[in-house]
Subunit: 704 residues, 2 copies
């Protein structure tokens, strides 16, 4: 069965079997049964237990096969060793979706991994979908139904939440009940043996009850599938994610600059960016955004009005806005006049609007409504501190009325204080006004929503550019290297591949004798560069393996011999193929363009300031291939080099179009040839507009 | 009277007069009286009100002069126009300290500013100290006494808090009562007419009841005084600050690179750093640190053990630790063995220690105590999620016992959840274990404390280096420029000043004719550089005002004429003094060293990567002068250039000692000569170790 259809059944089953249902309190099979019944599930519930009898008032069956009617979903909470036969029975019975709560699979090692594979085989064979194993279960507050062993059912709402950690989920659920945050779907992903985060992202995207998608993940199963799902959903619904495990992967061995500069988490960061997923800095921030989100009511721009009864919090909020990319709105003259004629003379009628410590509820209504009406304002932040004359609850009430009168723009409250703000906060929350205790968190949440709208509105259907490279040539070179038992390409080989993809390279020839070197030099034209040709020598200049600016045959001859001597001295065990003779490219702005490969997301392209200090300057940025032209543009613009290339301090602009072109050609090259695991062009010289670029040093490593 | 003695009285008065005391509810004079009485103040209270009678059971006087006994403190809550006479009476009566709550001074404009000046004059005349005006008052929970119009008195504790915003303070107070955060002193700074933040920092430093200092400020009155006070206190007590108003100052006009690159908030950031003050990112973070702080119990290092009952939160915490500069401790073999033999086989006995979802209170005790005992562990973070078998309250209780058994290391709890965690959190807080709802905030707070200990332990008593410059020469040059009616120095003048401070500069001579230019060139030695000499032309190369590499007299003559022509063409109105002839310095690593002046903190020194792209690369850092050698070292090391100067990729190291020396000489120069408002040396060439540096282009602007 199609996975999405399977999840549809999983979200809204007409009947549920609980395999391992129990009447013993404290057992998971009992928790699941109770949750199912307590959640008000209206379909049929079939407890399955070999002992038979009744469980919580429901007739119990020995096997799903004993049930005459169709079963949509089976929840499995029996010990691991019994799971496979039960799943087989479900398949034979025609159950459409399984929620396997039972642990003891992949997470316990090799044996568990084998069982998990068999689970998936059974699912495929019988056309079932499987959630889990090793999960908390699933909750749909709209069905309603709770097929999990959670302690309680979340409040009904529009947030769809999927989590790779069941325990975190129990914490979030408990916390959400106190904070009055509502969910539509609550999905524990477990080991993701069959259904993974991407499947649920698509399902949440199609689910009319869900308007906002939150994820907690530690990894994704399939990078491309994940990005594709996100790209389908993000135009309609925001996806916010906490991705943990940043520090886990640790250092990876990498011989290229690109490989060593891409941190273990870089690919995730880039994948989120390229698929429009917003990454929250921490769990609190994730739910801050959720609490502020209202799908009818996203900010149309970044102009914020601040209404306050005290200067200090107004300044804090102003700082936070500017730090988060939000602007302090310039109020219209009408608004300013209106405020002037209705507020005390000492009040500040510009933004932030300070209605003074004496501000009464009606003053707040006046200011907030004026701000909500103002065409120059996209969102309103209303701050309240508990001063002598402050009426906290009454103010909350009038704000709810103002919100109802002007429902179109985000209105967020910051009621600073403790006990005196408890009740006012409830009034606000029930009146659909999100409320915070400190201004910074409110501002960050609003800014995140604004960034989502920016991204959503900038989406365009852009094709991946296609070039016509000489793939046959590339394959020949790679085959030759393989035959030679190498993984690192010689300079001449790497340049050939680059050339086959239409990248302008400094011409290069391998010389195995000084005579040959001189001959190459004559043909290429003086001056030339000589470089040691050895797959074992990565940093050529460190071993005296490079000589530049050679202008006559005698110099070439001498350099040839010196380079070989020096290499022998520094790295006696290196296998040396000879010396590359290369035409000396005219100097330009030094760039690096490279590629490394991420396990989950594939080719990761790097661009930045090149040269020998690339690891120190770290003026670099990344994108995943394949890339659109916009991706290439953004990649360049994210670096300081991108700014310098535009031409500053009177310099002419560099040939940015040619740089983009080169990046896109490399993007296609590493997509076409998965064998290319690392690539560095460093430096590439960029010339003034119209003059193109020149790849001076190309390094390529192929997979084993 | 000495300000500190005045504040001592203010903190612990034997008698208090309330000028403007009232029996009418809702009046500030009534609030203050009630707070004084309710706070349990044991000294004498004298209500002052021209109407006489009794207020809240206390005999009322018409004037302080009618009181026979001494009065330590007078709190003033009468309308602004009556304040000055009342202050005078207090002076005459011999009152030692005033808390002026009344508003309507500096904050309302010119007239109020004048009254405020008179307040200070009276304070000086009569030897009183004044807190305020326009403030909430003062609270000392240890005296105890509450001389403010706050709604309630904070819990007794050891945090001293001073705030420039009274309203923010009321919010914090209310919030702290709910969060059970205790304070020792609670000071509303108001307009800071007399006593300012620096005075209170010193007083908090001397106060035995205060162990931790929190500030909310929007500005400081006197930068040097503030830094001096912080430097005295930080070795004994941490100071954490929220400084707002970052976005306020906006763009300042600046003609130098240094001036334009120093943001409006840079000087504050640097001042905090140089005086050991920790800047919190927001209000929530400020109190997070406060809640974690225990003066007996600072982390001895950065090695953290994590104990959890779920993997996900453990990973989140690990990520947060590594992002905050905390290490995941490598547990000792003893600990690992102990855990192995006492926990289920599936538990993770390395760090994070995962005691599994089934973990019982005794399992938590076992793990936490093992971690607290482990010599490889400096702090312990204990995470709990509410799973099926979790006993939240019981676990909290055993943790409190563990904490009592092993009181020496920080132990912080993260109990994730909502209603089920309310009571456990109370148990923890009362048992002196700080508790959070999400791990990231706990980690950040711990990391901030660790950073404080690092700073405190690195403090050394280091003298400001003193050089013997030719100050007379500098003064002559400056006088000459002044006589000329200029503010921008000619290149030759700026170089003279640098030279007078022992800075090696490329020699330079002003030529007013091509003949003179050739003569200078002969004397300096070829090749030479010619540069337009005009105080009106800041970016010389943009107007064709620079010619380099001139090797013979004819070239000099031609360049001289071309430069004058080009300048005339591009900037016909610029006053041109001639053309500077300069020896051509050998190229080295390009640096910028500069200085701008901050209104509050004085000379702000900048160091970084120089050249024409300095504004784009922004590889710069800042320190306030005067600087120690350590300051100079750190300044250099904070930049990427600092790393390159050490010699990477086979390059020899640059002459870092000479760079430090130059920075320190400039630090002294701008300290000696306040007239120098802006200075740029860009570029200075740094040569290899032992070869020094050469200041190629020096620009100086003096104050009007």
């Amino acid at each position: 069965m199609d996975r999405q259809k399977g999840i549809e059944v999983l979200f809204n089953p007409r009947s549920i079997a609980v395999i391992g249902a129990s009447s013993t309190k404290g057992k998971l099979g009992n928790d699941v049964m109770r949750n199912l019944i307590d959640s008000g599930y209206e379909g049929r519930i079939y407890p399955i237990n070999p002992k038979g009898g009744e469980i919580l008032g429901q007739k119990t069956f020995r096997s799903v096969k004993d049930i005459a009617s169709d079963i949509d979903v089976a929840v499995i909470v029996i010990p691991a060793k019994f799971v496979l036969p039960a799943v087989k029975e479900c398949g034979e019975k025609g159950v459409k979706a399984l929620v396997i709560i039972t642990a003891g699979f992949k997470e316990i090692g090799h044996e568990g991994q084998e069982s998990e594979k068999k689970l998936v085989e059974l699912a495929e064979k019988y056309g079932m979908v499987i959630q889990g194993p090793n999960c908390l279960g699933i909750i749909n507050t709209h069905a309603p139904y709770n097929a999990s062993f959670s302690a309680g059912t979340p409040k009904k709402g529009t947030i769809a939440f999927a989590s790779q950690s069941g325990a975190l989920m129990t914490g979030i659920l408990d916390w959400s009940l106190m904070e009055k945050i509502g969910f539509s779907k609550f999905v524990s992903l477990g080991n993701k043996a069959h259904l993974d985060e991407a499947d649920f992202i698509d399902a949440f995207g199609n689910d009319p009850d869900s308007t906002f998608i939150l994820l907690y993940i530690e990894s994704v199963v399939d990078g491309k599938k994940f990005m594709d799902a996100c790209r389908r959903v993000v135009p309609h619904k925001p996806i916010f994610v906490v991705k943990s495990g940043v520090s886990e992967a640790g250092a990876r061995a990498a011989s290229s600059h690109t490989g060593s500069l891409a941190g273990s988490d870089t690919a995730y960061d880039v994948a989120f960016k390229q698929s429009g997923v917003s990454r929250a800095v921490d769990m609190a921030a994730l739910f801050d955004v959720a609490s502020v989100y209202d799908d009818m009511n996203l900010p149309a721009g970044n102009r914020v009005a601040i209404v306050t009864n005290a200067g200090g919090p107004g300044i804090l909020t102003t700082d936070a806005c500017e730090a988060s990319g939000l602007d302090i709105a310039q109020l219209s003259n009408d608004t300013i006049e209106h405020l002037k004629s209705n507020l005390p003379a000492a009040a500040a009628v510009y933004n932030p609007i300070d209605a003074l410590g004496t501000a009464q509820p009606e003053d707040y209504a006046l200011c907030v409504e004026a701000a909500l009406r103002d065409e120059n304002v996209d969102s309103v932040l209303v701050l309240l501190t508990p001063q002598a004359m402050t009426k906290e609850t009454e103010t909350a009430r009038v704000l709810v009325e103002s919100r109802e009168k002007y429902p179109d723009k985000p209105l967020i409250a910051v009621f600073m204080g403790g006990n005196s703000m408890v009740y006012p906060r409830i009034v606000l929350t029930e009146g659909k006004i999100p409320v915070f205790d400190f201004p910074e968190r409110a501002v960050h949440a609003l800014a995140e929503l604004y960034k989502y709208t920016l991204h959503r509105d900038s989406l365009k259907d852009e094709a991946i550019p296609k070039f016509n490279p000489n793939k046959k040539k590339v394959q020949e070179v790679i085959d030759g290297v393989r035959r030679d038992g190498r993984r690192v390409l010689l300079g001449s080989e790497a340049h050939e591949i680059a050339e086959a993809y239409g990248i302008r390279v400094a011409r290069i020839r391998l010389a195995t004798s000084s005579e040959e070197a001189k001959q190459h030099a004559e043909e290429l034209g003086y001056p030339v560069v000589l470089k040691i040709a050895s797959p074992d020598i990565v940093h050529k200049s460190d071993v005296g393996g490079i000589r530049v600016g050679l202008t006559k045959p005698e110099e070439v001859e001498e350099a040839f011999l010196q380079i070989l001597d020096s290499a022998k001295q520094h790295m006696p065990k290196a296998i040396v193929y000879g010396v590359d003779v290369q035409e000396m490219a005219e100097k330009g702005k030094e760039l690096i363009i490279g590629c490394s490969r991420d396990v989950q997301f594939g080719p990761l392209i790097m661009f930045g300031a090149g040269g020998i200090f690339v690891n120190y300057l770290k003026d670099i940025s990344f994108r995943l291939a394949p890339m659109t032209r916009t991706d290439a543009e953004e990649l360049i613009n994210e670096t300081k080099m991108g700014m310098l290339l535009k031409g500053v301090r009177g310099e002419p602009p560099s040939d940015i179009a040619a740089i983009e072109d080169t990046i896109l050609r490399i993007s296609q090259m590493v997509t076409d040839f998965e064998e290319i695991v690392e690539l560095d062009i460093n430096p590439a010289f960029a010339y003034v507009s119209g003059q193109g670029i020149s790849a001076v040093d190309v390094k390529i490593t192929i997979g084993g």
